[in-house]
Each structure stands twice: as structure tokens, then as C-alpha cells.
């Protein structure tokens, strides 16, 4: 599903402050596999996720998701790829606090070429799978931390993507909510989603059937 070959990323290339954040990363992730990128803060996990998500471009190397090379895409194609193939889940939830849960979940679909009914069906499905359907009309500001994260999951699922990318998803959750989040991810994996989680939370290593990939200063530690 995801194939990274010799990916390097250097920030501020060609200047004195040049910084090699990723060095020669090669990683294959199979469909409906769950991979945990484990490493301390600053090791380059977020950078790696952003390259898989076409939010930033590698300095060298190839990135193939599905059958599509995403290392160098035009902005429109990168955006469509993010919208249709990926779901992002962040540490800081990143919701629009004034919008209702439902409206937050609808954000990725606003420019999608689908009808109103189709969008409504997808939003409902996403809310169900993230177990937040009962709060659909509530403003995001009024949700608890765990509910916010579920709302974020629903948003990531809105376009029914094949791949979920999670960046420190449990950092702002208590242990009970973190556990619920992990269970939710396992359910989604069972539905066929390919999942990559960047984290230093040990809770993920206890999950069944996950592959842990340790990252140390921009390299895969083997």
C-alpha cells in the first residue's frame, strides 16, 4: 500500500542552517497494516508523516501510495490525494471550535465532486464509526477531550480514505480515552484501513498485531 524508498528530507537546504531531518528512510506498509513510528520528540516522525501525506516534499527518494507517486505532485493533485486517500488525526485535534461536530466532519467534503445525499451518507457513516453520532449537532467547543478526538477521527474518515495518518494522537488524552482511541483504531484496521501512528506513547506497543518501527534522529533504527 505504501512504499517509501530512500527518502531524505533536508530543511533549509543549501544554507548554513541546513538540517537533515530524515535520512534514507525505506519503509513498506501493507494494506490494512498498522505501523507505529516510535521515537522521541524531534526524531523526525511528523516530518515523515507529512511526506507520506504530501504536505511536504522529500528532498530525494520516492513515495508511492496505492499506485500513485506522491513525492512530487502539483498542488491540486496533492490536495485531491489528501482528500480522497488520506485521513489525518492530530495531537491537538485541530477542530473548528465554533462549528458543530457534523460541520467539522463535512469540511473535507466541501469541494468534493459528490452530491448532497452522498455527502450526507458519508458523514453519517464516519460519525457512526467514530462513535460520535450522538453529538453531531453539538459545537466542537463543548466537547470533552476524548469526544474531540473522536470528532477528529470522524473527520478523517469522512471521505472514506484507505490510509489514516495519526500524529501523537493520544498526547492530549487521559489513559482511559487513549485506550478507547486505540480500540477504535483496531476496529478501523479491521475495516481495511492502513494506519500509521507516530507516537512515543507506549500504549500502542501493547496492541495486538502492530508493527513498531523505531525512529532515531531521522533514521529507522534496526
Amino acid at each position: 500500500m505504501i512504499r517509501l524508498e530512500h527518502v531524505c528530507k533536508t530543511f533549509h537546504e543549501g544554507t548554513p542552517e541546513a538540517f537533515e531531518a530524515l535520512r534514507d528512510i525505506s519503509l513498506h506498509v501493507a494494506a490494512s497494516e498498522m505501523v507505529i513510528l516510535k521515537g522521541i520528540s524531534g526524531s523526525g516522525k511528523s516530518t515523515l508523516l507529512s511526506i507520506i501525506g504530501a504536505l511536504s516534499k522529500p528532498s530525494s527518494g520516492s513515495v508511492i501510495v496505492g499506485n500513485q507517486s506522491v513525492a512530487k505532485l502539483s498542488d491540486l493533485h496533492a490536495s485531491h490525494y489528501r482528500r480522497d486517500t488520506l485521513g489525518f488525526i492530530f495531537q491537538s485535534f485541530n477542530l473548528f471550535e465554533e462549528l458543530s461536530v457534523e460541520d467539522n466532519v463535512a469540511l473535507p467534503l466541501i469541494h468534493a465532486p459528490i452530491t448532497h445525499d452522498e455527502a450526507a451518507t458519508r458523514i453519517n457513516a464516519a460519525l457512526e464509526r467514530a462513535h460520535i453520532a450522538h453529538k453531531r449537532k453539538v459545537r466542537a467547543a463543548l466537547l470533552s477531550g476524548g469526544e474531540k478526538q473522536r470528532c477528529a477521527i470522524a473527520r478523517a474518515l469522512a471521505s472514506d480514505p484507505k490510509v489514516l495518518l495519526c500524529d501523537e494522537p493520544t498526547a492530549n488524552l487521559d489513559s482511559q480515552n487513549a485506550r478507547a482511541f486505540c480500540d477504535n483504531l483496531l476496529e478501523l484496521r479491521a475495516l481495511g484501513k492502513t494506519i500509521i501512528v507516530a507516537t512515543h506513547d507506549p500504549i500502542f506497543e501493547t496492541l495486538e498485531g502492530v508493527r513498531v518501527v523505531p525512529i532515531v534522529s531521522g533514521r529507522i533504527d534496526s
Binding site: R82, R83, F90, A106, H111, A112
Partner: protein, 392 residues
């Protein structure tokens, strides 16, 4: 996806950034208000002036001697009436009467009761007034400006004119002219032809000048040539030239104002640019989220442009409503003096509600272009926000 969610998001963003937009909104409203008030006043005056001018005769012939116009012999009328294309010829009796206590002039207009019915100009002046009564009593009708002056000196019912032959003539006041007539009739005094002759000292076989009506525009050039050939001691004033003169005068004032206004527009652009250039952290994060969930730069650009366009449009709409009320309900206090500076009596001109699409389009062009031009770079800067920021 329905546009509704996009619109919801748009209004949410407007609400979120209301602090940022408020100053711009108020300033823009003020700019639109000033521009439109000026244009609406000018356009309403122009409209009134031209509809009055339309009813004027096509040619006026005056006798001149040594470059000064003198009374014109009425005997010429028969001669003019024979020119092909001339439909009607009429003598006109008018002149300025110096009102000493105020050091102002009244314009005395003598009207023939029979003429009055055939002249559209007089018809509009006296519309709704009882002409029969006016003729029977041999009184006068006065403009609002004249009435104010006479009232001030307690001439409520009559006024005593002094004729050149040292006689005193008492004329009863029969009424005032309607205020729609004010653009031409503010300082006017309408009396019978006979009275006007006496007060102005015009002989019986003479008139102030002679008016000719030539309805077919194609015949006017030949009529004009024949008039020139008929007498050498005349001055011929064509309505079409008056129209062009007025049009130029009117446009000159407007264009002068607009050129001066350029400086204001330039500073407006700079203020807008400075205001929108800085991006708040929260604004960056919003855009980063949208980009991360699959919005393209182009879609974010149009969202941000729409957000600004809504502010611009809202300010335009409010500015329009305010200026419309200021000009037509409040009758443009202060601004009116700018246009009326050349009048002899203080004109109490009634600005008639009149709106031309072209005026709106002109102001819209002049306002929206700099507005949108000033926000292009800030909008772009926002749209290229690195979506990575959402991850932090």
C-alpha cells in the same frame, strides 16, 4: 456538496476575524459613502437640469449692438416663422431686477397667458398653480428664494417695484413656484407680459429675445444658417450647444473631484494592505487544517477572496444606503453648497430621487478594483501557509 456548508464556513470566518475586518469595513463604508454621495448629488442635478433644458427653445435670437445684447424687435418674428422647419416663434420677456435692501437680483419673467399654455417650460414652472386667477388679478408668482427675501422684509402679500420711468408699481403675490422648479425658478418672479414690460422698460414692439422651436434635429443646421444670414447684428444661441456646455461643466467638476480622490484611494489601499498583511496564529492554523484535510491552494485562495469580497460588498451596500438617504432624504447638507456655489440667491434646490445604473457601476469600479487589488497579496500569503503547521 451544497454551497450551504461553504457559506456557513465563510460567515464563521468573517465572525472569527471580525476584529480585523471591522476597521476595514467602516473605512470602506465611508469611502463608498463619500464617493456615492458626490455622484448621486451630481447626477440628480444633472438630471433635473437636463430635463428642464429639454423644454427650452431650440434657438434663441438676440439683437446685439457693440457686443452687448439689446432688446430685439418683435417684427423679426414673422420673418423667422417663414423659415422652413421652424414650427413656432415666440417673444421672451425677462430681465434682472436689482433688489437693493439685499443687494441681490430677481429674474423677472413676463408671461403671456396664451403662451403659458404652449410653452412646456412655463408649464412645468407653474404646474399645479391656478393661472386663471393669476391673470385676473394681474399678480405675480415668485420662487422660493424670492419669497424668503420678501418675507424677511415683511412683504407678505405684495411688493412695490420701481420702473425706469420713476413710477411705482404694486404687484400682489399670488403664490410660490413649486420646489421642483427651483433649479431654474428659485430667483424667478413671474408676472404678466404687460407688467414685465413696464418694470423692465421694454418697448411695445420689442422683446428681450426671440425663441424658435425646430422639432426636427436634421433641419436645425439649415435653420441656423438662415438665421445667421438674416441679420448681421444678432447672437444665436442653440440649445444643443448649451447642452454640450452644461455637460462639460458638470463633468469637469466631477472629474476634478475624482482626480483629487485618487490620493484618498491610494491611502485606502495602503491601509487595507497593512491591515490584512499580518496573519494571526489562529488564522494560519485554520488554513493549515483546511489544507491538511484536502483543500487546494486555489480553493483556499477563493475562500479568502470571498471573505474579503463579502466585507467589500457589505461596505458597498451600507455605503449606498447611507448615501442615498443622505442625498435624497436629508438633501445632502454641506455637499449641496459645493455644487450651488455660483448661484445668486441661496438656492433651495430639491434633489429628486434619481438613480442611474451607470453611476453605481462607475463607483463600484472605482471602489472594488483598489479594494481587491490591495488584498491579493495578503490573501496569497495566507493561502500558501504550510499545512505542516497543523501538525504542531
Amino acid at each position: 456538496m451544497p454551497a450551504k456548508r461553504l457559506i456557513d464556513l465563510l460567515f464563521l470566518l468573517l465572525y472569527r476575524h471580525r476584529r480585523k475586518h471591522m476597521g476595514v469595513f467602516l473605512l470602506s463604508t465611508l469611502i463608498v459613502f463619500v464617493l456615492l454621495s458626490f455622484m448621486l448629488t451630481a447626477q440628480s442635478l444633472h438630471h433635473t437640469l437636463f430635463s428642464a433644458l429639454e423644454q427650452q427653445p431650440d434657438f434663441i435670437v438676440q439683437k446685439v449692438r457693440g457686443g452687448r445684447s439689446v432688446d430685439t424687435p418683435t417684427a423679426w418674428m414673422e420673418e423667422f416663422a417663414r423659415i422652413h422647419g421652424v414650427e413656432r416663434v415666440a417673444p421672451r420677456l425677462f430681465g434682472r431686477y436689482f433688489y437693493e435692501p439685499n443687494e441681490t437680483h430677481f429674474t423677472l419673467i413676463g408671461i403671456d397667458p396664451f403662451e403659458a399654455q404652449s410653452s412646456k417650460f412655463l408649464e412645468t414652472l407653474v404646474a399645479g398653480l391656478d393661472l386663471k386667477c393669476f391673470i385676473a388679478e394681474d399678480g405675480m408668482l415668485i420662487g422660493e428664494g424670492v419669497k424668503a427675501v420678501l418675507d424677511h422684509h415683511h412683504f407678505f402679500d405684495y411688493y412695490v417695484f420701481r420702473a425706469p420711468d420713476r413710477s411705482k408699481i404694486e404687484v400682489p403675490i399670488m403664490g410660490t413656484l413649486p420646489r421642483e422648479a427651483a433649479v431654474l425658478g428659485n430667483d424667478a418672479v413671474l408676472l404678466s407680459a404687460e407688467r414685465a414690460r413696464t418694470i423692465l422698460g421694454i418697448a411695445h414692439d420689442h422683446a428681450t429675445d426671440i425663441a424658435l422651436f425646430v422639432p426636427n434635429p436634421l433641419e436645425r443646421d439649415t435653420v441656423r444658417d438662415k438665421l445667421i444670414m438674416a441679420h448681421f447684428d444678432t447672437r444665436i444661441i442653440a440649445k444643443s450647444e448649451l447642452e454640450k456646455l452644461y455637460e462639460r461643466l458638470y463633468n469637469y467638476k466631477g472629474a476634478l473631484f475624482l482626480s483629487l480622490f485618487t490620493a484618498v484611494l491610494l491611502s485606502f489601499m495602503m491601509i487595507l494592505y497593512a491591515r490584512y498583511q499580518g496573519l494571526h496564529g489562529s488564522e494560519r492554523r485554520e488554513i493549515a487544517i483546511l489544507r491538511a484535510v484536502g483543500w487546494s491552494i486555489k480553493e483556499v485562495l477563493s475562500l479568502k477572496l470571498l471573505e474579503n469580497a463579502l466585507v467589500a460588498f457589505g461596505a458597498f451596500a451600507l455605503g449606498f444606503v447611507l448615501s442615498y438617504m443622505y442625498v435624497f432624504f436629508l438633501q445632502a447638507p454641506l455637499l449641496r453648497e459645493v455644487f450651488m456655489g455660483f448661484e445668486n440667491l441661496r438656492v433651495h434646490l430639491w434633489l429628486q430621487p434619481h438613480l442611474e445604473g451607470a453611476t453605481l457601476i462607475t463607483v463600484a469600479l472605482l471602489y472594488f478594483t483598489p479594494f481587491m487589488a490591495a488584498v491579493l497579496i495578503p490573501v496569497w500569503r495566507a493561502a500558501i501557509t504550510e499545512p505542516l503547521e497543523a501538525m504542531r
